[in-house]
Assembly symmetry: C2
Homo-oligomer: 354 residues x 2
DNA sequence: ACCCTTTAGTAAATCGATTCTCTTCCCGTT
DNA sequence: AACGGGAAGAGAATCGATTTACTAAAGGGT
């Protein structure tokens, strides 16, 4: 029992240089049982009876040998992976990147890590990735601008999700307010003939945003002219899409003094198209975007836009998910959390000329 | 032995609805030993002796009950996590997002997932994160624009890393070519008085890019005027930084007809500053950026810039890392891999007026 | 009838840590 | 002298899958 105790640290200063120390080797080295060390290292109440001398010896030696408990073993034992999955359409798209940036902070602070997967709007991947993440033992999933149809055995938080699905908490923008902010702004500037660019069908926000626009227009006594309405086509995230539809709008004949685009990227394309057609912004046509991506502020003229608090939405998503993981099954989770948009007025909007 | 075999699938269609099936329960259900099932499921050569009838029965039942081997248990056994870590300065920065987007494809195809952590240039986090990732049992690390000082027990690939560190493979841009492309372009347009915006000290590219500029200038017989040289300060990634230093350059008195910025973000700020000073682009001053972020093409005038193949760099990083993981220790890994930049000429550059 | 080879699997160790249940040993009481 | 009880720590089961070594029965050849 005491023969091993003579193996003091000074005798074997550097142990096996190859293999990282594990509990067993540390135990052998200390002449103690793995169980004892585990209890002490985890400050378990059961280590009450271990004298401070021994505790200190264990702690000191663990630190000296740089012992790190094997995460996988621990996870297996506790049935907890401290990992969540984040599903996005495309990492490099700005929208998703911004949300992810908000997600990270809270997660890491609580000791969680996250896997990222991007599906690029491929239906099979949208279906498959959540399952693969589950196999990877994630404890929850955050879906960004990605439809989740089926209930899963882990909590899900969907950023910009609109469908009501069992087990899914939606983080949504107040689209009514967003539409009102934008249209009121244009209305007050005297705009009555307003063109619209709708989003692609796959974007979760498209429908509710469009409904909100109709409502807000109704409240203001504006009419939404179908001839002044275009829809983005194609899944690229380049302003070229906005450029194309705006050219069509301009050529279609019906006059307009303002354009409300589905997002900033298409608004930027629209601005080009408008200028290419020989019109000025905001002199001839005012333009309002949506999202407030970084490029919006970098345009000239600076793009007036409805800001979505994307980073904040990421933070809320992470917090909500962690809460739900913590008290799993404890009470019904909130169905949805609404965040408020903000109108950022820059130089792309001005009083209507006609 | 055969009493269990009578438990045909039709008798118990839906097993325990709560608990996910594990190997043991599946084995019990089939009246076989876990070992047998494992061998068959993994198509191990040792399953040679199992008759096809039994194999089919196992496979069918596994599928019906939706059995998925527990990833953690498997990882523990094999000492493989199929996970790598990606360290970036900031997820939402475009540069990192683009590289990540390239990383993802190859990784997922090979069954790997990745953790993302962002350090926001905090020295303690840069030091700490790789260690935490190691605790999480990652099999390799990709560092994007992040210095890695010390050798780690796993392969590391550094995108835009320049230091030679044991165990680190650098993916670097050919900065000499980049500088030559930009300066030759400006030179051919007749520019002789060129201003420069250097990068922040923390950016890994700053030094080598600056050396390359000196070299290229030398080759062309241009001189780099210290009075026409500014350096970005502060770690925000807003064009405001570029705006500030450009204002100083313009006020400093020394005349210039072209500006070569450290990156597109600062170039965009610079363009604003130039216009605010009453000069035109490219009439009075030509501007060249670096990176070719999405916003570069969206500017007006469109920003001429040196494109880094960021997505490609991500792909190469992932491929290289996977190779190194695969044949660990097998031969010395490449010290560095160079990729080539491309000059994207848009409207922000034109012939020098004076 | 005996031995050898397949066939059809199974038992048990292992990966590394956790945790509940036991032993001892020793000290102080009655 | 016997007993209770706390101190100090050891043992063993467990998480779920993998894998090597082994067994038991059946078939085939001489």
């Amino acid at each position: 029992m005491s023969r091993k105790k003579t193996a003091r640290s000074e005798d074997f200063p550097a142990p096996d240089p190859e293999q990282p120390v594990n509990l067993k080797s540390l135990a052998e080295f200390l002449g103690l049982a793995p169980a004892t060390i585990s209890l002490v290292m985890n400050r378990s109440p059961a280590s009450r009876s271990i004298p401070k001398r021994t505790k200190d010896r264990i702690l000191a030696e663990a630190k000296r040998l740089n012992y790190r408990p094997n995460f996988l073993a621990r996870s297996l034992r506790h049935q907890r992976s401290f990992t969540i999955g984040v599903v996005v359409p495309e990492v490099s798209e700005g929208y998703a990147a911004m949300v992810m940036s908000g997600i990270e902070d809270d997660l890491l602070r609580e000791g969680y890590f996250y896997f990222v997967v991007s599906h690029r709007h491929r239906a099979d991947l949208i279906e498959e990735y959540p399952k693969i993440l589950l196999e990877r033992a994630v404890e929850g999933i955050i879906a960004v601008d990605t439809p989740c149809e089926r209930a899963l055995p882990v909590p899900i938080v969907s950023v910009s999700g609109h469908r009501e699905v069992e087990g899914v908490t939606n983080i949504v923008l107040d689209h009514s307010l967003a539409a009102r902010l934008a249209l009121q702004h244009l209305f007050q500037l005297g705009h009555r003939k307003i063109a619209f660019i709708k989003g692609q069908a796959f974007s979760s926000d498209t429908e509710s945003r469009w409904r909100a626009i109709h409502e807000a227009a109704g409240e203001l006594g504006l009419c939404v002219n179908p001839k002044l309405t275009a829809r983005l086509e194609g899944d690229s995230s380049s302003p070229a899409l906005g450029y194309e539809v705006t050219k069509q709008l301009l050529n279609a004949g019906d006059d307009f003094t303002a354009l409300f685009a589905f997002n900033d990227v298409s608004a930027i394309g629209a601005m080009r198209a408008i200028r290419d057609a020989g019109r000025t912004i905001p002199g001839d046509i005012s333009v309002v975007g949506f999202d407030d991506i970084q490029s919006a502020a970098f345009q000239s003229p600076g793009l007036t836009t409805v800001r979505q608090p994307l980073r904040r939405m990421g933070e809320i998503a992470a917090q909500t998910l962690l809460q739900r993981i913590d008290q799993s099954k404890n009470g019904r989770p909130p169905k949805s959390i609404t965040v408020e948009p903000e109108l950022i007025i820059r130089e792309s909007t001005a009083a209507a000329s006609r």
